[in-house]
Amino acid sequence: MSTVTAPAPARPATTAHLSFARLLRSEWIKFWTVRSAAWSLSIFFVVTVALVSLISLAVVSSGPNDGPPGPDDVLAPFNVAAQLGQVALVVLAALAITGEYTTGMIRSSLTAAPRRTPVLWAKFLVLTVVFFVVALVANALGALLQQLFFSDDLPLDLGDPQILRALFGTALYTTTIALLSFAFGALVRHSAAAIAIVLGALLVLPLLFQIPWKPLQEMQPFLPGIAGSTITQTDAQVEAGWESFPPGVAHLTAWEGYAVLVAYLVVVLVAALVRLKKSDA
């Protein structure tokens, strides 16, 4: 320690260099080596599986509906679970990038990869894969438990492409909302601000836009949460939802609604990439 150690053994000069695959590996290591990852993913997983089971139980216990149980009853537990579980992923996604700014880590990251934008893309891809896989597994496990205990009252027809799309769409929606939080985090570089913006847009804006004033009502279907969550429903559910809209308000199909959410993500992500590229770190 007090004397200078022998120089590092010379490594073949060709092996050590930057590549996007290696940035992905680096971001993968970064993601799993802070405690917030395991915590937030566990909370999301437990909340999703537990809520799907509990709400299924509640639906069954509330007694028979007017008719035979339909997709509404089967899917409702998944939709509610997604609304609550997504908060854990929104927080985790924002922290994945704002944590680098608040601790100064970003300067180490950008020194290692001075072209900058690949760092953000690598992080984005790692989060996308992790979130989607975890969300898919959580919903699949929820569905399994639901069918194990309540298949008589809540028959989940996995042969129905509409039901499959809704379940797959639930994982897709949760992932995309979390990525929107990541993009806001990269743009504003402040944990609380990013989380507040996304949760505000998801939970508060829909209330505000219920004010019976025409321009607000016309914009309501384009709110990120309302537009994006259409992908968690069957076409029949989406169309039934249109009935509650005031006349003259746009009707978005499931994929159109999801495309609106993706458009928000693209805009914020591009703004974040521009800021990353242009400004001092």
């Binding site: 120089p7 100064g104 880590m105 950008l110």
Partner: protein, 318 residues
């Protein structure tokens, strides 16, 4: 080799670095010396591509840092202590950085051992002392076994043993032919470590040369003279380059003339001398002389620039 050409950085109204040009040569330790707020860190951040120059350019080994295929093996940098996620362990931090270049975990363990972090490598960085944070920063800089090292205040917060270790390390790395660029506001540390000095003050380069030369050039020795005829002696040694400060009891402090010149002048004017004492300059004195006009943040009254001999060690220590 690091080359800066007309490098300028402005933050709004404030100019942090003002059109500086310099070259840092391989094979020796180049010290980057200046008071706080002089622009040292900003310059280093521009070298690493973290801050964009308002004007001018800077290259490392002939190319902008961001253009390298393998940045970490070209340049290793310690820019500030704890540019590290506080929730991650030291080893995982280094593993994540190494992974970007496909540097194996074996090298990670090597730099951990080199920097004396083995005992704390698995602990989260949030609990690190300033000294351990510095060691981790140096470990990150060494990770790619780089040809060029840029270290901003590397001995900050280190214990005496750590200071000695950094001093030996940078000298050794320079002796291997690497480029070593080291910033500090500690003049004594620079006198012991650096071969070459670039002195910066308020965003300007105010001296650039070998350490010995800078000391010699910037410390015009002060001579203390005692005589029963101070007025006559003052008239005899007076000149455009010479400043004379009369003191009590026939004592004069002469700045800008050597003891030989004063003795000869006294003899020619037939003035009796009771004392003739040269007060030799030091690097501290050189530094204070150079930067006296350039200090950004003063702690009290301005330093009298015409009379550096009145500087006491307590003033230097500020």
């Amino acid at each position: 080799m690091i080359q800066a050409q007309g490098l300028t950085k402005r933050y709004g109204e404030k100019t942090a670095v003002n059109g500086i040009s310099f070259t840092v040569q391989p094979g020796k330790v180049t010290g980057f010396l200046g008071p706080n707020g002089a622009g040292k860190s900003t310059t280093m951040r521009m070298i690493m591509g973290l801050d964009k120059p308002t004007a001018g350019s800077v290259t490392v080994n002939g190319a902008p840092y961001a253009s390298f295929r393998s940045p970490l093996t070209e340049v290793g940098a310690l820019l500030e202590a704890k540019a590290v996620h506080t929730g991650r362990s030291a080893r995982n931090h280094l593993r994540a950085l190494a992974a970007t270049h496909g540097i194996p975990d074996k090298r990670v363990d090597e730099v951990i051992e080199m920097t004396g972090l083995t005992a704390v490598a698995k602990r989260r960085v949030g609990g690190f002392s300033l000294g351990m944070g510095q060691r981790l920063g140096i470990a990150s800089a060494l990770l790619g076994d780089p040809r060029t090292l840029i270290l901003d205040e590397p001995v900050n917060g280190l214990d005496p043993e750590g200071v000695l270790w950094v001093r030996n390390l940078v000298k050794y790395l320079a002796s291997e032919g690497r480029t070593v660029f080291l910033s500090s506001h500690l003049m004594t540390e620079m006198a012991l470590t650096a071969d070459h000095l670039i002195v910066i003050g308020r965003g300007h380069i105010i001296a650039d040369g070998p350490v010995d030369e800078i000391i010699a050039r910037s410390t015009k020795a002060t001579v203390r003279v005692r005589t029963p005829h101070p007025e006559q002696l003052a008239a005899a040694v007076a000149g455009p380059e010479v400043t004379i400060t009369p003191k009590d009891g026939g004592l004069l402090e002469v700045f800008g003339a050597t003891a030989e010149q004063i003795g000869d002048a006294a003899a020619a004017a037939r003035v009796t001398l009771h004392e003739l004492t040269p007060l030799s300059g030091s690097l501290e004195e050189a530094y204070m002389t150079l930067t006296a006009d350039e200090v950004e943040y003063r702690s009290d009254a301005p330093i009298p620039t015409t009379d550096p001999a009145t500087l006491t060690t307590t003033e230097v220590a500020r």
